[in-house]
């Protein structure tokens, strides 16, 4: 099987950001594009499906190279029929293909909710068969994208053990996680963020895997644990830099995997710092942060110096107007204020 060698080569000690003996920089968008191309090269069973995959635009330029190289047989343009296509993806995975279904926006996933949850997420448990499929969806934000074009549904899908949910935040991770997702026998929901597409990082030329289900400790500090996911890692990074001058040092965990949650990494950090702030890329209410907070309370009670705090969207409905948008999204300032309160 094409993936076994790669799985065997898996780097056990993942190096957080940059370097790693690699001299080449790619953007997040270029990295996913390369990951798809290499996945198709390694494994002829990999096919790509989606609206607009072969049209100019090429899903934010991420399918251009595969279209050129593999053409319409393996890169399949689809009607606007998300529900059916999700079922098609499941069926194809059961009968020997490794399909990757792409949505331009996370919001369109909801049209296929029944296939994702009633079918994909429960399939392995019920029938015992593997469903090696990946669903890529891009979270957007800003310019009045509003209620139906800027939602982030990671938490909504996080309670199904039969569905892995990933939120890569760096070019290195997006490539390695995508290859892991395609290699995995489990179905993976792969949530990208449009605002990360231009971010740059060192990305090895060859194939490599970033393990599924593992968070990464991006930076170390002893005063507080900060958990970011997807785009909120950026705010955490900026907040953390500012806090250094105030002599507040934070452990910064990039969650990467929303389901399963890498609780061990979180517990060991909280055991050290005694404080936890989760910065959600989505509504606070019933977000993944709520689950993490409960787990930490259940398992790290004796270490906690202050209640776990969460920052995220004030409501699930994203407004469109520019000023409403500015008010809506929390940013570095809110993170700083919260951290200062928690630490002093």
């Amino acid at each position: 099987m094409p993936w076994t060698k790669l799985v065997a080569d898996q780097r056990r000690n993942f190096e957080p950001v940059g370097g790693g003996g690699c001299d080449r920089v790619l953007t997040y968008g270029e990295a996913i594009s390369e990951a798809m191309e290499q996945a198709m090269e390694i494994d002829p069973r990999v096919i790509i499906l989606g609206e607009g995959v072969s049209q100019p635009g090429f899903i934010y330029n991420t399918t251009r190279s595969i279209c050129k190289r593999y053409g319409t047989k393996r890169v399949i343009e689809t009607p606007i029929a998300e529900a059916a296509l999700t079922g098609v993806t499941l069926g194809a995975s059961l009968a020997g293909l490794r399909p990757v279904l792409i949505h331009m926006r996370c919001d369109f996933l909801l049209v296929s909710m029944d296939q994702i949850i009633n079918h994909i997420a429960h399939w392995k448990r019920v029938f015992g068969n593997d469903t090696p499929l990946v669903i890529r969806a891009v979270i957007a934000r800003g310019w009045g994208s509003g209620a139906q074009h800027s939602q982030s549904f990671h938490s909504l899908f996080a309670s199904f053990e039969g569905l892995e949910v990933l939120m890569p935040a760096t070019p290195y991770d997006i490539k390695g996680l995508f290859l892991s997702a395609v290699a995995s026998p489990k179905p993976v929901l792969f949530l990208e963020h449009r605002w990360l597409y231009g971010d740059r990082d060192y990305v090895p030329r060859g194939t490599y895997l970033v393990p599924l289900g593992k968070a990464v400790l991006r930076e170390e500090g002893s005063d507080i644990t900060l958990i970011g996911m997807s785009l909120t890692n950026r705010d955490i990074y900026m907040a953390r830099e500012k806090l250094k001058s105030e002599r507040i040092f934070a452990d910064w965990i990039d969650l990467r995997s929303i389901n399963p949650i890498d609780l061990d990494t979180i517990y060991s950090s909280v055991a050290k710092t005694g404080r936890l702030l989760i910065v959600e890329n989505g509504p606070v209410c019933c977000g993944i942060g709520a689950e993490i907070a409960s787990r930490v309370m259940e398992n790290c009670w004796d270490f906690l110096k202050t209640p776990v705090q969460r920052i995220g969207w004030p409501s699930a409905t994203v407004p469109a107007g520019p000023e409403l948008e500015r008010q809506f999204y929390p940013g570095v300032d809110q993170i700083l204020t919260t951290i200062r309160k928690m630490v002093t």
């Binding site: 609206e51 607009g52 049209q55 100019p56 635009g57 343009e77 689809t78 009607p79 606007i80 029929a81 998300e82 529900a83 059916a84 919001d107 369109f108 909801l110 049209v111 310019w143 009045g144 994208s145 509003g146 209620a147 139906q148 074009h149 409905t317 407004p319 469109a320 107007g321 520019p322 000023e323 409403l324 948008e325 008010q327 809506f328």
Partner: protein
């Protein structure tokens, strides 16, 4: 078509065109911060249908809704304030261009999820049938019929004889994907007719044809015939989203846009009216243009002056 109606149709189409052109002019200033799906080229459909509607009728629309809403009588100032994200916007700044609505003026709402509005329109019609009166017009594109929910709704409407006019604006593309790559069938009318739903295919750029056909169908619906379906052939001039013509993207054959520009619904009507009413027509064109331009300019400057919508 009588002269008053003809000039009224002209006026409505012109209003829509001038509004969209004003957006094209304003957009580079980056004060309108919302994705716009412009209706230029398709004005005859909204204008032709709107004249057959009565106050208690409703419309439900999609992401490309400016024309539908303006033809139905959406307030220009509320419309522009919404685009600018200002207080007094038709959806108080929460919706932006993709979610305009005004239930008081017969506009239930607009969904930016493809086909998302279609079943909602059926529900409105169910309520109309049970509680009151009136009919519902559901606007959607050739992309929306890709979705199963369209067919589910069609079936339900027929089963329950709901007072719905389905208006498919077939502009040959869904985003950049042409219909041939999305539809296994050549003519949806045959399939819809299989439900025994009265179905007509027409030139969506001919406002008289749209007005006449929709008028007949709407009368039948009012008399209890159940749902009817119109497939309006048309073409959008601008890119799927935004203000450029996006010719450089290369998904449309080179001459396609220029051919369709020669079939401009407004130019066509101007030519007709000039032939029918020489002298008078030119005066009317000028005065309508002048009127709408003033209205639009004033709505835009009020929108710019208004405070931002805040929570």
């Amino acid at each position: 078509m009588d002269i008053t109606t003809a000039f009224y149709l002209y006026s409505t189409m012109l209003k829509i065109r001038l509004v969209e052109e004003a957006i094209v002019n304003e957009y580079p200033l980056q004060e309108i911060q919302t994705p716009v799906h412009l209706y230029i080229g398709q004005e005859a459909i909204a204008a032709g249908i709107a004249i057959n509607l009565q106050p208690h009728d409703f419309i439900v629309s999609n992401h490309r809704s400016h024309g539908h809403c303006l033809a139905r009588g959406m307030d220009l100032e509320g419309f522009f304030k919404e685009l600018y994200g200002k207080q007094g916007g038709v959806t108080s700044g929460w919706g932006g261009s993709m979610h305009i609505g005004d239930i008081e003026r017969g506009i239930i709402g607009t969904s930016a999820i493809v086909a998302g509005g279609i079943p909602i329109g059926a529900g409105v019609a169910l309520a109309q049938k049970m509680l009151s009166e009136g009919i519902t017009v559901i606007y959607f594109g050739d992309g929306a019929v890709d979705e199963g929910i369209f067919w589910e709704t069609l079936n339900f409407c027929k089963l329950n004889d709901l007072p719905v006019l389905f208006v498919m604006e077939d502009n040959h593309y869904a985003s950049q994907t042409p219909t041939e790559q999305r539809h296994a069938y050549a003519d949806i009318a045959h399939i819809v007719q299989g439900y025994e739903i009265p179905t007509l295919t027409l030139d969506g750029n001919n406002v008289f044809e749209v007005a006449k056909v929709s008028g007949n169908l709407i009368n039948r619906i009012r008399e209890g015939a159940g749902p009817c379906f119109m497939r309006c052939r048309t073409y959008r001039w601008k890119g799927h989203v935004g203000c450029s013509e996006d010719d450089d993207m290369g998904y449309r054959p080179a001459a396609e846009l220029s051919i369709w520009k020669t079939r401009c619904p407004i130019l066509w009507l101007e030519k007709y009216l000039t032939e029918q009413y020489p002298g008078k027509a030119e005066i009317e064109f000028f005065s309508r243009r002048d009127y709408w331009q003033r209205e639009i300019d004033s709505a835009i400057s009020k929108a710019k002056e208004a405070p931002y919508a805040v929570d």
